[in-house]
């Protein structure tokens, strides 16, 4: 009696079928699947077939191979990205990955070289390639103007690189700052004016002339003079410059956590003030502003008797 060994061919032993199942699984778990998961799903497939299928998918660029603490992970690759990288070789992919990892702070070319261990000439060629394919871009850092950092094309550079809201293309926007400065000051001034004219008792007058940084921020946002979105910290830096101009004073009060505009349990209040003395006596005389003051003495080339600044001033 001959035993008929019937090898039951599993219905989905077809390699293509395996690949499709794996891809489906990847779609199910977009964060990536381990080898274990695939094995559980298709227990009847041998390890070798599984390996073959996975390798094919990797080489076709449809799967991403990642390493995690538990082992290897397979992740479905974004089809868009998959298309992009076609035609690039592995080195470029490596560099691209390094730059991607740098996030929006960007990475300097020397750092790329260290991480990838590729020679300088290769790196430069690859970077140029990627740039021309519009996959990465170079951004000049505002801190060191000679340094160029690379980051992915569609990413917004981080504030520390571009300098934040006050820099546009590495140029400090002084007029923008000036305009904001004046607007904030006008706002605070008008608030103080209304408070003063309300003629109520002095305590209320003073308290109502205060404006919190949040209020000023809202006002500036509503004015819409800024193309860039400004945060409350930005407004606070502008208000600080007003303090250094001597036009505004600030107090900090304790505020409950829930109130609008409070940060860490306190709020900053600002108020327009008048200067405590008018321009002092010395500067009303020409000598106070004279650039050649030290050379001036009686009987010399420059003396009070023939001082041209005085003559002008007297004719005024």
């Amino acid at each position: 009696m001959a035993e008929v060994k019937v090898k039951v061919q599993p219905p989905d032993a077809d390699p293509v079928e395996i690949e499709n199942r794996i891809i489906e699984l990847c779609h199910q778990f977009p964060h990536g699947i381990t080898d274990q998961v695939i094995q559980n799903e298709m227990p009847h497939i041998e390890a070798q077939q599984r390996a073959v299928a996975i390798n094919r998918l990797l080489s076709m660029g449809q799967l991403d191979l990642l390493r995690s603490n538990t082992g290897l992970l397979y992740r479905i690759k974004d089809s868009q990205n998959a298309g992009k990288m076609k035609g690039s070789d592995n080195q470029e992919k490596l560099v691209y990955q390094i730059i991607e990892d740098a996030g929006n702070k960007g990475i300097w070319s020397r750092d790329v070289r260290y991480k990838s261990n590729l020679p300088l000439t290769e790196i430069n060629k690859i970077l140029k390639n990627l740039e021309s394919k519009k996959l990465i871009k170079a951004v000049k850092s505002v801190a060191a103007s000679k340094k160029k950092v690379y980051m992915l094309y569609n990413l917004q550079p981080d504030r520390s690189v571009t300098g934040g809201a006050w820099y546009s293309d590495q140029d400090f926007e002084s007029e923008f700052v000036e305009v904001l400065n004046q607007q904030c000051f006008k706002f605070l001034q008008s608030k103080a004016e209304t408070a003063r004219e309300s003629k109520q008792n002095p305590m209320i007058q003073r308290n109502s002339s205060f404006a919190s940084s949040h209020e000023v921020w809202k006002y500036i946002c509503e004015l819409g003079i800024s193309k860039v979105e400004l945060s409350m910290e930005d407004i606070e830096t502008i208000l600080n410059t007003l303090i250094y101009d001597g036009k505004v004073e600030m107090t900090i009060i304790a505020a409950k956590e829930g109130t609008v505009g409070s940060v860490d349990g306190h709020m900053k209040l600002y108020r327009a003030v008048n200067p405590i003395i008018p321009p002092t006596g010395l500067v009303r005389a020409p000598c106070g502003l004279c650039p050649v003051f030290d050379d001036c003495h009686e009987g010399g080339e420059i003396s009070p008797s023939n001082c041209i600044y005085m003559t002008e001033w007297l004719e005024f």
């Binding site: 321009p279 009070p304 008797s305």
Partner: protein, 468 residues
């Protein structure tokens, strides 16, 4: 005594007392205390003249004398007293605002004569007032005396120590008979307080009211009720409002007024030192602003606030482009408004590895500015004298013409004749005279303004030195 101060003293003495007094005075300021004979010898003037000059100076409290061992009397000039002469117009003005015309005239007489007895002053002032009043009325001596007593109470006027009449004609201490003198030290205490009152007024309109009346009281701490009682009648402030004003004043970040304890409804005290420091700082800031621009002023205030700051941080905080910020910092550094503090990272002090911090030392900047003020006033006085000298001929002519007109009016001349005389001064000459008068007035006013700065800075420096 710096060169600038000595120059200024010499100009002032010359203007007020003449050449000889100036020579003696400046010599004394330069060389400190000297006996009579040495002065005469060094300056080359006769003994007689030296004695007269010293008389004048002592009468005006500019020179004091002392008996040293072996019976030698030495004379010493006080430079600061001479510089106070700049402030006389302000004293007169303050008295006028506080005590009206009578007070003004009293102070004026005393300043002109240095020292006077009370009866002499009262008589002179009353006579002067009688002249200006309508015919038939005479000034009451009692009224003048009253004002005088009030002035003495508030320390505008002070009695000199009296000398026991000794047979010995040696001019030993203590000095003269009961004569009176303007006590200049206290004199400028009262203007100082009212100056602060004015300063507060400018600060914000809603906080001035309570400041002024309180400033007049010389006590150290004042409590709530006393303030309320001492407010002038016309103010019409209720107690609660007054309380609120006081709280506001005490809470103000400038810290002019402090609250020390709650007894009697709150005890309030004026922080003179803080007030002077703020005013001195404001003066410095104003000078920086006018000389270098408002951006520089921003940087200056920034460094003041942060005490020590690096260059990079200056750019960030002040929101000024790096190049300009650097330029301004260096300019202020070169003019000695700022100084640099080095903090080395490595023992070899290598510049690339050292922190350089900018800082402002208010005391030294104030001193520097004070010196500049003295020189400025000297310049202004010189210019004024120069202008007057230039037009001396014209001035003399106009004086002669005026004298002629006055005498002719007294003898009852006709209108036509007066016209003729007046036309001796042609129109362009008249114009010139006008310009001259305007210029001289302007220079005069400017001197007084610079003196205000001197007052603030000097008070601040003195106050700080006392505390140390």
């Amino acid at each position: 005594m710096t060169q600038a101060e000595i120059k200024l003293c010499s100009l002032l003495l010359q203007e007020h007392f003449g050449e000889i007094v100036e020579k003696i005075g400046v010599h004394l300021i330069r060389t400190g205390s000297q006996p009579l004979r040495v002065i005469a010898h060094d300056t080359g003037t006769s003994l007689d003249q030296v004695k007269k000059a010293l008389c004048v100076l002592v009468q005006h409290n500019l020179v004091s004398y002392q008996v040293h061992k072996r019976g030698v009397v030495e004379y010493e000039a006080q430079c600061s007293r001479v510089l106070r002469m700049l402030r006389y117009p302000r004293y007169i003005y303050t008295t006028k605002t506080l005590y009206s015309d009578t007070g003004e005239l009293i102070v004026e007489e005393l300043l002109l004569n240095g020292k006077l007895t009370m009866s002499a002053v009262v008589k002179k002032v009353a006579d002067r007032l009688t002249e200006t009043m309508e015919d038939g009325k005479t000034m009451d001596y009692a009224e003048v005396s009253n004002t005088f007593v009030r002035l003495a109470d508030t320390h505008f006027v002070q009695r000199c120590p009296s000398v026991p009449t000794t047979e010995n004609s040696d001019p030993g201490p203590p000095p003269p008979a009961p004569t009176l003198v303007i006590n200049e030290k206290d004199m400028y205490l009262v203007p100082k307080l009212s100056l602060i009152g004015k300063g507060k007024r400018r600060r914000s309109s809603d906080e001035d009211a309570a400041g002024e009346p309180k400033a007049k009281r010389p006590k150290y701490t004042t409590d709530n009720k006393e303030i309320f009682r001492s407010l002038p009648v016309g103010y019409n402030i209720s107690k609660q409002v007054l309380d609120q004003y006081l709280t506001l004043l005490a809470d103000d970040p400038l810290e002019f007024v402090g609250k020390s304890g709650d007894s009697g409804g709150g005890m309030y005290v004026i922080n003179l030192h803080k007030a002077l420091a703020s005013l001195a700082t404001a003066t410095l800031e104003s000078v920086v602003q006018e000389r270098f621009g408002s951006r520089c002023a921003r940087i200056f205030r920034l460094v003041l606030q942060k005490k020590h700051i690096e260059q990079k941080q200056v750019e960030d905080f002040a929101m000024i482009p790096a190049k300009e910020a650097k330029d301004m910092l260096y300019k202020m550094l070169s003019e000695n408004f700022m100084s640099l503090q080095e903090i080395p990272k490595t023992p070899d002090h290598a510049p690339s590895r050292t922190f350089y911090l900018y800082t402002v030392n208010i005391l030294s900047a104030a001193r520097m500015l004070l010196h500049r003020c003295y020189k400025s006033i000297a310049n202004l006085i010189e210019r004024r004298q120069f202008e007057t000298k230039e037009n001396k001929r014209l001035l003399e002519k106009s004086q002669r013409v005026e004298a002629i007109i006055a005498s002719m009016q007294a003898t009852g001349a006709e209108e036509a004749q007066l016209q003729e005389i007046e036309e001796m001064i042609t129109a362009p000459e008249r114009q010139q005279l006008e310009t001259l008068k305007r210029n001289v007035n302007k220079l005069d006013a400017s001197e007084i303004q610079v003196d205000e700065t001197i007052f603030l800075l000097e008070s601040y420096i003195e106050c700080t030195m006392k505390r140390q």
